[in-house]
Amino acid sequence: MEGILMSILGAIATFLLAFVVGMTYGGIRRKVIARVQNRYGPPIYQNFIDAFKLFSKTTAVHHGAMHLLGPAFLMVSAVVALMIIPVLRDNIWFTNLNFKGDLIFLIYIMTFGPLGMALGAGQTGNPNSAIGVTRGLSQMVGFEIPWVMALVALMIKYNTTSVVDLMNVQNEVGQWLIFQNPFAFVAAILASLGMFRYAPFNIVGAPTELASGPASENGGKFLFTMMSAGSVFAFVKLTLLVDVFFGGASNLIELVIKTFLLYMIPVMYGVVNPRYRTEQAVTYFWGWPLLFGFLAIIYSVYF
C-alpha cells in the first residue's frame, strides 16, 4: 500500500517538476525573443499567470465529444511520456514507470497526444485547425526520420533500446554520447528543432496565418490543458536529449542546467529565422539532418 502511495506521490512530484520547469522555460523563451527583437518582453513568470488565468476561466461552448477529449489525449500522452522517461539517474523519486524507459515506446507515446489533439481540433470544424494539423503531421514525418536515425545509430552501437541502458553506458565509459557519436547528436538536435515547433518550424500554430491552428477553437480549461501538456512535453524532450547524449543528470540542478542549455538551441535558432513553408519545413529535415543521420549510423556501425 505504501509502495503505491509513494509511487503516486512520486508521479505527482515528477509532474509538478515538469510543469514548473516547462512553464519557466516557456517564459524565458518569450523573454529572450523579446530581447532579441529589442523589446522589454513579459516577465519570466508570465506563463504561470496565463495558465492560472486560463484555468480559472469557465468554458461556455463545445463542439462535441472529440473536441472535449482532444486535450485529454494530449495530457495523457504527456503524462505517460513523463512517467516513462528517466528524469534523474538512480533516483527513487522520479522513477515512476520507467522500468527501462524504452525509446521506441517513448517515440510512439509522444505522437499519441498530438494525434488525439488533432482529432479534437478536427471536430471543431474550424478549417484553420485542420490545416494546422496537416502541417503538423507533415512536419512530423520530416523530423522523425533524422531523429530516429540518430537514435537507431545509438541503439545499434550499444545494442539496446533502453534510455536507462544508454545512460548507464555513458556512466561506465565516462564519456557522453555526444562525444562518442557527434553525428547522432547533430542529427538529433536538428530534428528537435522541428519537434519544438518554434520558428522557423512554427507552421502548425502559425498565429498570423492560421489563428493558432489546432488551438483556435479552444479556450479556458482546454487551452490550459494544452498549454501545460506542451510544457510537460518540452520538459520530456529536453530530458530525453540530456539522458541520451549528456549522460543524464544525477540531481535536479544538473538537470536544469543541461536542459536549459539544450533548450536555448532551438530558441536561438528560431529567433533569427522567419517561418518556413510547409514543404520547406519537411524537406529541410531531409537535407543536412538526414545526412548527419546517415553519418551517425555509418559511424556507429563501422567505428
Partner: protein
C-alpha cells in the same frame, strides 16, 4: 468422416445451396449464409486438432489434409474474420442485387482459404489457391465498374503468381517425386544450388502476389477498393495472409537452411520495406477512403513481410503478430468505410464530412482501429511494431528500420485523413439525414475494435499459438521467456504483458477525462460547427468550410520526386506494347488462301533443310 473434409464439404455444398436459396426468400438465404459460415467455424474450433489427417488419393496426386500449428494460427484469422465479416455482409448486402452470386463466391473463397491452410501437399494447396483466386476475382468484379481493367489486372497478376507457383510445384515433383510439403522440406538441402534458389524464388513470386509485394502489387489498390467492402475486409484481412502463410513456410523451412537464402531474404525484406514506404505515400495521396485503405493495406503487409523475411525468432513473432493485428484492425476499418458507403452512398473523403454525431459507433470503431493501425502504444498494433523494430535493430538491418519508421510515421497522415474526412469537420446539411448503420454491421466492427484493445493489453493471447507455430519449425520456445530474445523486455520480468503500462495509461486517461470531459460537458453547451471563430465573418449555413481538398498538398509536393515513377504505369505500357506486338503476329493470317499455301511450301522447305536433324 474426417472433420476437415467435412468442413470443406460443408463450405462447398453450403456455398451452392446458399446461392440458389435466394429463390425461396432473401431471409432464408441470409440465414443459410450465416449458418454455412458459423457451423464450420464451430466445428473447427471444437473438432480439429493437430492429429487429424486425411488422405484422398488420385492417380496423379495424393491430397493430404491436416493441421499444423502454423495453419492453426492462420485459421484463427480466417475463421474469425469470416464469421464477423459474414454478419457484417448480411447487413451490408441487404437489398442488393445478385446476393446469391456474392454469397457463393464469399463462401467459396473462405472455404478455399481454409483448404489452403489445411493442405499438406502442394496439389491441394494449389487447387484451393486457385479457387480462392477466381472466387475473389468474381467478387472483385461484382460491382461491374471498369471490369476489364481492374478484374483482368487482378487476374493476370494472380495468374503470374499462381503459375510461378505451379512451375515450382512441378519442379519439386520432378526432383522429390512427391507433392508433399514435408518431403520438399526434408529433401531441400540435398538439391542443387540452382534449384535451391529457383524453387523458393518461384514460390515467393506466387505468394508475393497475394501479399501485394512490390512489384507484384499493382492489382491490389484497384481490387481492394472495387470489391464490396464487406469482402475487402476478408480480402485484406485474411486472403492476403495466405501469401504471408506461404512465405512463412518458404522462409522458415527452406531459405533459412541454406546460406544463399540470406540473399533472397534480404531482397524480399528490402522490397517489402520499399513497398511499405511508397504505398504509404500513395495512401496519403488518395481522396477515396477505399483506395486509401487499400494502399495502407499494402504498406502494412510490407511490415509483415519484413518481419517474416528477416527471420530471427523475434522478427517472425513480430510478423505473425502484425499479421493477426492487421487482420483485426484493417477489417474493422474496411467495415467502417463500408458502413459509411452504405449510409451516405459515397466514400469520397472530400465529400463526406462531420458524421461523428450521426454515426458514433462507427466512429468509435474507426478511432480504435486507427489507433491500432498507427501503432500507438496501448493498442495491439504497437506491440507488433515494437517487436519488429527491436528485431530489426538487433539483426543490424538499420536502414530497414529507418524505412519502416518513415512509413509508419507517414501512416499517421492518412490515419488522420480518414478519420477527419469522414467523421470530423463541419457538419453539412447534405448529410443531415444520415443514420447510424444497422446493428448487425456495427457489432462486428465493435467486436474487432475491442479485440485490438484486448490484444494490446494481453498479447500473450496470440503469442501462445504463434509460439507453437514457431516451435513446429524448430525455433526455440519463446513463450514466457520472450524477454530472453529481447533486450526491451528485460526489466519487465518474464512477462510479455503490457498490462501495467496499459493500466497506467487508462488511469491517467480516466482522471483527465473526468476532469475535462464530464465536467465540461455538463457545464458547456453544444454549438454547431458553423459557430466557430473566424475573423469576424459569420458563416452561412450552406457554406462548407471543411478543409478536405488537397489535404496534404505541401507534404506531397515535398515527396513528389519519389512518386513520379509508377511501376503500375511501366507495367501497363509493357502490357500494351506486348499486345501491339500480338497485333503484328495476327497479321500473319492475311486472309489470302494462296499465301497460306505459300506458307505451307516455305514450311516444307524449312523442314527439308533441317531434315538431317530429324534423325536425332
Amino acid at each position: 468422416m474426417n472433420i476437415i473434409i467435412l468442413i470443406l464439404i460443408l463450405f462447398f455444398l453450403g456455398a451452392i445451396i446458399t446461392a440458389f436459396s435466394g429463390k425461396i426468400s432473401a431471409l432464408v438465404q441470409d440465414i443459410l449464409f450465416l449458418i454455412v459460415l458459423v457451423v464450420p467455424a464451430v466445428l473447427f474450433f471444437t473438432g480439429v486438432d493437430m492429429n487429424t489427417e486425411s488422405i484422398i488419393t488420385f492417380s496423379q496426386a495424393q491430397l493430404t489434409f491436416g493441421m499444423t500449428p502454423l495453419s492453426y494460427y492462420f485459421s484463427l484469422i480466417v475463421m474469425g474474420l469470416a464469421v464477423l465479416a459474414g454478419f457484417y455482409t448480411v447487413g451490408q448486402m441487404n437489398g442488393k442485387k445478385r446476393k446469391g452470386y456474392y454469397y457463393l463466391n464469399y463462401i467459396l473463397s473462405i472455404g478455399a482459404m481454409f483448404g489452403i491452410l489445411m493442405s499438406k501437399d502442394f496439389i491441394s494447396f494449389f487447387i484451393f489457391w486457385e479457387i480462392m483466386t477466381w472466387a475473389s476475382y468474381l467478387i472483385v468484379i461484382y460491382n461491374g465498374k471498369n471490369v476489364q481493367k481492374i478484374g483482368i489486372k487482378y487476374f493476370v497478376m494472380s495468374a503470374i503468381g499462381a503459375y510461378a507457383m505451379l512451375m515450382a510445384i512441378v519442379l519439386i515433383h520432378s526432383i522429390t517425386g512427391s507433392f508433399l510439403i514435408t518431403d520438399l522440406i526434408s529433401e531441400y538441402t540435398g538439391m542443387t544450388q540452382g534449384m535451391q534458389l529457383l524453387i523458393p524464388a518461384l514460390l515467393l513470386i506466387g505468394f508475393g502476389v497475394k501479399a501485394a509485394l512490390m512489384p507484384l502489387h499493382i492489382w491490389a489498390p484497384d481490387a481492394y477498393s472495387n470489391a464490396p467492402m464487406s469482402y475487402t475486409a476478408i480480402f485484406s484481412g485474411a486472403l492476403s495472409k495466405m501469401g504471408i502463410y506461404g512465405m512463412v513456410i518458404v522462409f522458415l523451412s527452406l531459405l533459412s537452411k541454406v546460406p544463399e537464402g540470406a540473399l533472397i531474404r534480404d531482397i524480399v525484406a528490402w522490397l517489402a520495406a520499399i513497398t511499405a514506404a511508397i504505398s504509404t505515400l500513395w495512401a496519403i495521396k488518395q481522396d477515396d477512403a477505399k483506395r486509401l485503405l487499400a494502399y495502407s493495406s499494402i504498406g502494412q503487409l510490407g511490415y509483415i513481410i519484413i518481419g517474416v523475411a528477416i527471420g530471427t525468432p523475434m522478427s517472425i513473432i513480430a510478423g505473425l503478430f502484425l499479421a493477426f493485428m492487421h487482420g483485426v484492425f484493417k477489417s474493422a476499418l474496411f467495415m467502417v468505410v463500408g458502413a459509411v458507403e452504405k449510409q451516405t452512398g459515397t466514400t469520397d473523403l472530400t465529400e463526406v464530412t462531420g458524421l461523428i454525431r450521426k454515426m458514433p459507433w462507427t466512429f468509435l470503431a474507426a478511432l480504435i482501429s486507427i489507433i491500432a493501425l498507427a501503432g500507438i502504444p496501448p493498442l495491439g498494433g504497437f506491440v507488433g511494431k515494437w517487436m519488429l523494430y527491436e528485431s530489426l535493430i538487433l539483426s543490424d538491418h538499420f536502414m530497414l528500420v529507418i524505412l519502416v519508421f518513415f512509413s509508419s510515421t507517414a501512416a499517421f497522415l492518412y490515419c488522420y485523413k480518414i478519420l477527419f474526412g469522414f467523421f470530423l469537420g463541419q457538419e453539412e446539411k447534405e448529410w443531415a439525414h444520415v443514420k447510424e448503420a444497422p446493428a448487425i454491421m456495427i457489432v462486428p466492427m465493435v467486436i474487432l475494435s475491442i479485440s485490438s484493445i484486448v490484444l494490446g493489453t494481453y498479447p500473450q493471447l496470440i503469442l501462445k499459438p504463434i509460439n507453437a507455430a514457431m516451435m513446429s519449425f524448430g525455433l526455440p520456445d519463446t513463450y514466457g521467456n520472450l524477454w530472453k530474445e529481447s533486450i526491451l523486455f528485460n526489466k519487465w520480468g518474464n512477462q510479455i504483458a503490457l498490462a501495467p503500462i496499459m493500466y497506467g495509461i487508462m488511469l491517467v486517461f480516466v482522471i483527465v477525462t473526468i476532469f475535462l470531459f464530464f465536467r465540461n460537458r455538463s457545464r458547456t453547451r453544444y454549438v454547431t460547427t458553423k459557430d466557430i471563430s473566424t475573423s469576424g465573418e459569420i458563416i452561412k449555413e450552406h457554406e462548407n468550410l471543411t478543409f478536405s481538398r488537397g489535404f496534404f498538398q505541401p507534404f506531397l509536393r515535398a515527396v513528389e520526386p519519389v512518386m513520379k515513377r509508377q511501376i503500375d504505369k511501366y507495367m501497363l505500357s509493357f502490357a500494351k506494347g506486348v499486345e501491339d506486338l500480338f497485333e503484328f503476329t495476327r497479321r500473319i493470317y492475311n486472309g489470302n488462301g494462296q499465301t497460306y499455301a505459300i506458307y505451307a511450301m516455305i514450311f516444307l522447305i524449312i523442314l527439308l533443310m533441317f531434315g538431317k536433324n530429324l534423325l536425332g
